[in-house]
Amino acid sequence: MAPSLHSLPTTVFLLILAVAVASAAAAASPSSPPGEDGIRVVAAEKRIDLTGPIVKVFLTLKVQNAASASEASYVLLAFTPTEVQHLAIVKATRAEGKRKKKTYVPLPVEPSHLADAPNGASLYAILLSTPLKPAETTTLELFYVLTHSLEPFPAEITQSESQLVYYRDSAVILSPYHVLEQATYIKMPSNRVESFTRVDPTSRSGPEVKYGTYSNQLPNSYLPILVHFENNHPFAVVEELVRKVEISHWGNVQITEQYKLRHGGARHKGVFSRLEYQSRQSISGASSFKNLLARLPPRVHSVYYRDEIGNISSSHLRSDSYKSELEFEPRYPLFGGWHCTFTIGYGMPLQDFLFQADDGRRYANLTFGCPLLDTVVDDLTIKVVLPEGSKSPEAVVPFLTEQHLETSYSYLDVVGRTTVVIKKKNVVGEHNVPFQVYYEFNPMFMLAEPLMLISALLFLFVTCIAYLHMDLSIGKSQAS
């Protein structure tokens, strides 16, 4: 009877924010962070892509340093608290050079604590490679991804309805700087747009809504907008993914991935009629999905797909020299709010992944993230199980993760295998980048288990012989 609960705080927050903004505007005294007084955003363009289940935002800032200011080593970026908690990844590049030979150099982005914007908005600092000289302008290309930012409304739909979602944002860019000129484009998957907030000038052309251009916005200004539109993309959310990478120096890398999958869209309400689903595929269960696509490395072998009660016999693997694609179906089509769990396992040739570092250590070069295409992983755990006897492991991941070590036992282990555990929340497809695990390994350990087996067998035979002799002796004693 009221909007779903987690929308409440957001709205409340928006109110506070807006009020504060209003007061700020009334006072007309921009609370500009210290040291950055000089920077102004000359032109800004924000393109929000809502076509998928994940919100992708492309932001182009043309930043200018004031003539009278000192050099600026970084440019700040502001996010609202809700955005921050849904923010999966931020990338920034800077356009170098002139029209012709224009190159984009990636810039590091990190949360900055030195200055904080009003109303709990938090700032991220883009560290410029070369500081911005007074009166110089540069162009920054920003890209960030928000997960769980499309709120299904209505929250419950029947099989025949299609899924409508809310998206909340601001018409103007929330920025600690003075923005001279800006426009925001929101792109939606279909022409079916229920409603959108008008902040003139606002125009809509088909699936795209344009806000702006607005000129000369004060810092920290925020004009909440609400877009309500149809989005029938499968909202596949992996609530929990545990990837276990077992490296065996006998030439195989075995990967086991345990998924806990949920349809994150509008919850399914009332009956599920297989008849409707099978006969009118198009209109019934428009937002449901029945198969998933996983992009695996090339040359994978012995792929299996099962869950806790046995194999699931509905998957096939397309493989070429660049990648292998595993297309598989859960046991049943997933409707809004339905869960399912499954396990995918596959082996890969060792030489594709294990290399010798210059310092003599070995390192495994693996891919981070989740092989499923455009899904959100709420909670990702990667366990790299190094061969028994490997020492001083160290994982190198290009972004912030939580890591620790543990020991796991496998076939006939004695001391157990060192396992590097890497955890990260809120992972999206952009995180599928290579990462390395370095470790030292003494090849002698490879012989441990064979030797163990041999000795065991030897022991067995010895006992057999001993038994025979013993048996004879007993017989004799009784004979006497």
Binding site: F272, R274, I309, G310, W338, Y411, L412, D413
Partner: protein
């Protein structure tokens, strides 16, 4: 294995010792191969399908094993399971035969202690094959006790692949019988061993293995009745010996005590009639023993006098005891017999009184084809075996015959007891074959030696050797033959892919290998020829048997009934609907929701979907099952009320009409009606019958067309093809378009094989009555009166 060799070797001359050593090693090797064969012939199900638990009961055992491996023995011991038989619950620890579970559990524990990460499921899947290997070894020992090594090997080889045993012990059919057969045979072996050696040591072991049997299977009563019968037989036939006493008396005492330790048996071990026979024989045995003792002491003349006294006393005692027993029996309900064993003694009992027992297909009496299917050529070899048992009638061989006879009777009553018959048949036919081979080969040997060296001495000692150390020759020679046959079987088994024809061919080739060197010389003497032909014939016969077994293992018995396959022109088509439904239940319903279905699916639902069920395959409470049956066979509203009173949230029905899956709920419906009607007389079977049979087509009775089962199965079925053609029954359904008022469809699997419905909540308002809706308002108001109690009146 190697144990008996040296003792005999001590007696035998140097060449004999050598040959024995060789024979021993060969024998061990053969046994190993037989074990491998027994294990690997049961892996077809894993190869063709997947490594998964089969059918129904195994799922329960699997669940119990999981619990055991998680919570340890004591938790398991007094595990009160609140997820089945809602709301009654079930005391698993006290009502289950723990042998299988404990076995698998300890295997799992052992394996994980070695850091070999096998899942509980894997261990469970492969328990049965492992134990069938053990069983074949046990068979070897048993037959060896009766008829020497050769027969032993033969019997072991035959048992390793006897179809009726395979049917219960393929990889994945994780059921009590899998280990029970091993325990059974091994107990018999130890009994005979004790009987032959008369050592208390084996008697103890015997009691222990009997204990294991009691833990494993309800069929232990077979042992505790068969052995007394044998003892009695021995006494009556005047074969009493003190060894018999040693073999039997401790077994009864220790066995009874141990059996009483198993919770599920408990005091039944002394209170129910299944066990009284043993006590009676126990007493008789003592009397007889006493008599013999006196006889030993006295001179014949006095003995007569003593006899009179002893007899009178003994008889008095006997009568007293018998009286007590009879009194006990009479006092206890059902004359102290459990329903199943009663239905064993009186085959018509179950169908008359206990429809639940009758409703289980494996409790039906078997048909003749099933005999051929299950024990194939053995059926013909067995009589020969019996004859050769009688040739020198020893205690052991008489026991074999007795075992066979009883087993035949029981298997005739219940098809599942074909399993008990299988070892007996194997042993006897093993004996038959080996003695046949023995005769043939010895005659060959004799002829050949005669042909070659006319030196009387040589021939003489050869004859002497043949006669005196016949035991050894038998052992070695037959063992060689057997190794060949065993090897053959292995080979065929290893190359299961090639078609039967060339498989048979290469058996012919290999089969004739051992005979080849003799081939060119056999022209000389005619009986030699005959014997060679006979050998060949026997080998071919074995060949047929092997072919049949492999076929049975590969085709007939390897399907794990939860996933079905069908071959069509576009290749293999898989029907995995059951697991689809169970997975849906386990992930998309509340963890405490109750699921009602017919009891066949209870075990699977608890194990795979982890949801509370109302009834399951352990059919201990007839009333509860009858309640569900009644609900299924009553009209929608009545059914809703029954289910609602049981807090049922979901109803699960199995429906094969769309894809033609024959064993679905409509075909089981007669049992629902019968069992329901047995408890609740307002369900009358005739209401559902149209001229004596269940129909759901246009001629079906209105009661049938309005019962819940019909509606849940055929809800919106007509819209699939427009006619509503049922592919199982093979006609169009009677009532095509109807609505559900108290249930709503929440899930239906891909092939419609499982349909899950949810109970709608109670109506929120109660309509008033306008003229046009009088009827409905009346029902709803009565519903109000019934459902809702009214504090202010």
């Amino acid at each position: 294995m190697a144990e008996p060799e040296p003792t005999t070797a001590a007696a035998a001359p140097a060449p004999g010792r050598l040959r024995n050593a060789f024979g021993g090693v060969l024998c061990a090797f053969t046994l190993l191969l037989i074990g491998v064969l027994a294990f690997s012939i049961r892996l077809f199900s894993v190869i063709k399908y997947e490594s998964v638990i089969h059918e129904f009961d195994p799922y329960f055992n699997f669940r119990v094993t999981q619990f055991l491996s998680k919570n340890g023995i004591y938790e398991f011991w007094n595990w009160f399971d609140d997820r089945t038989w809602y709301p009654l619950g079930r005391v698993i620890g006290g009502t289950v035969y723990p042998g299988l579970t404990l076995t698998a559990g300890s295997i799992w524990w052992l394996v994980n202690a070695l850091n070999i990460p096998l899942s509980v499921e894997t261990v469970c899947v492969f328990t049965a094959p492992i134990f069938s290997a053990n069983a074949s070894w046990a068979t070897y020992l048993l037959t060896k006790e009766a008829k020497g090594t050769g027969a032993g090997l033969m019997a072991a080889a035959i048992l390793a692949m006897v179809p009726s045993y395979i049917s219960r012990s393929v990889a994945g059919s994780y059921d009590n019988e899998a280990v029970a057969i091993f325990a059974l045979v091994f107990t018999f072996y130890l009994y005979l061993k004790t009987l032959n050696t008369g050592s208390l040591f084996y008697a103890t072991l015997n009691a222990l293995s009997y204990f294991y049997m009691v833990c494993s299977w309800g069929g232990y009563t077979f042992i505790i009745n068969l052995i007394p019968m044998h003892v009695l037989l021995c006494i009556v036939t005047g074969r009493y010996s003190s060894r018999l006493y040693i073999a039997y008396a401790p077994l009864v005492i220790l066995g009874t005590l141990l059996a009483a330790l198993v919770p599920v048996v408990g005091f039944n071990a002394v209170l129910t009639s299944e066990h009284f026979a043993s006590f009676l024989v126990f007493i008789i045995l003592h009397v007889v023993a006493f008599v013999y003792y006196i006889k030993g002491l006295l001179t014949p003349r006095l003995f007569k006098v003593a006899m009179t006294l002893v007899i009178t006393v003994g008889l008095a005692v006997c009568f007293a005891v018998v009286a007590v027993l009879v009194a006990l029996v009479a006092s206890s309900p059902t004359k102290g017999w459990s329903g199943r064993s009663l239905s064993l003694l009186d085959p018509t009992y179950a169908s008359k009184y206990i429809p639940i027992i009758a409703s289980v297909s494996e409790h039906q009496p078997p048909t003749w084809p099933s005999y051929f299917m299950d024990i194939n050529v053995l059926a013909f070899l067995v009589p020969a075996g019996i004859i050769s048992c009688f040739l020198p009638l020893s205690d052991a061989s008489s026991f074999m015959v007795l075992y066979l006879v009883t087993a035949v009777y029981f298997s005739g009553v219940m098809v599942r007891l074909m399993l008990v018959l299988a070892p007996a048949a194997c042993i006897l036919s093993g004996i038959a074959l080996s003695s046949a081979f023995d005769v043939l080969t010895r005659s060959m040997k004799f002829q050949l030696s005669k042909v070659f060296n006319d030196g009387s001495a040589v021939s003489g000692d050869s004859i002497a050797e043949g006669s005196t150390a016949s035991n050894d020759t038998k052992g070695s020679s037959t063992s060689t033959v057997n190794t060949n046959s065993a090897k053959i079987e292995n080979r065929t088994e290893k190359s299961e892919k090639p078609s039967k024809k060339n498989r048979k061919k290469d058996r012919e080739v290999t089969g004739s290998v051992p005979v080849k060197p003799k081939k060119e010389k056999r022209l000389s003497v005619l009986p030699l020829e005959a014997s060679v032909v006979g050998t060949l014939l026997l080998i071919v016969l074995g060949g047929f048997y092997v072919v049949h077994c492999v076929w049975a293992a590969a085709e007939a018995y390897s399907a794990p009934s939860i996933v079905l396959t069908s071959r069509s022109r576009e290749g293999l088509h898989v029907f995995d609907d059951f697991r689809e439904a169970y997975a849906w239940l386990s992930h998309n319903t509340d963890v405490d929701d109750k699921v009602a279905s017919w009891w066949d699916y209870g075990y699977q639902t608890t194990a795979m979907a982890n949801r509370t069920v109302i009834v399951d395959n352990n059919t201990w409470n007839n009333t509860h099952i009858a309640t569900v049956g009644t609900a299924m066979s009553s009209p929608e509203k009545a059914a809703w009320e029954i289910f609602d009173s049981l807090d049922v949230k979901y109803v699960l029905v199995v429906f094969g009409g769309l894809v033609g899956y024959p064993s679905d709920d409509i075909n089981k419906f007669l049992w629902m009606v019968r069992i329901g009607g047995g408890e609740f007389p307002h369900i009358k079977e005739p209401d559902y019958l149209r001229d004596g049979q269940y129909r759901v087509d246009s001629q079906a009775t209105p009661t049938m067309l309005n019962c819940l089962m019909y509606k849940l199965c055929y809800y919106r079925f007509v819209e699939t093809d427009g006619k509503g053609f049922d592919r199982v029954r093979g006609y169009e359904i009677g009532k095509k378009h109807f609505k559900l008022t108290h249930f709503e469809e929440v899930f239906t699997t891909h092939h419609w094989m499982v349909r899950i419905y949810k109970l709608k909540p109670q109506k929120n308002r109660i309509r008033g009555k306008l003229k046009k809706l009088k009827s409905s308002s009346k029902t709803s108001s009565t519903l109000a009166a019934g459902r809702k109690k009214n504090p202010w009146q």
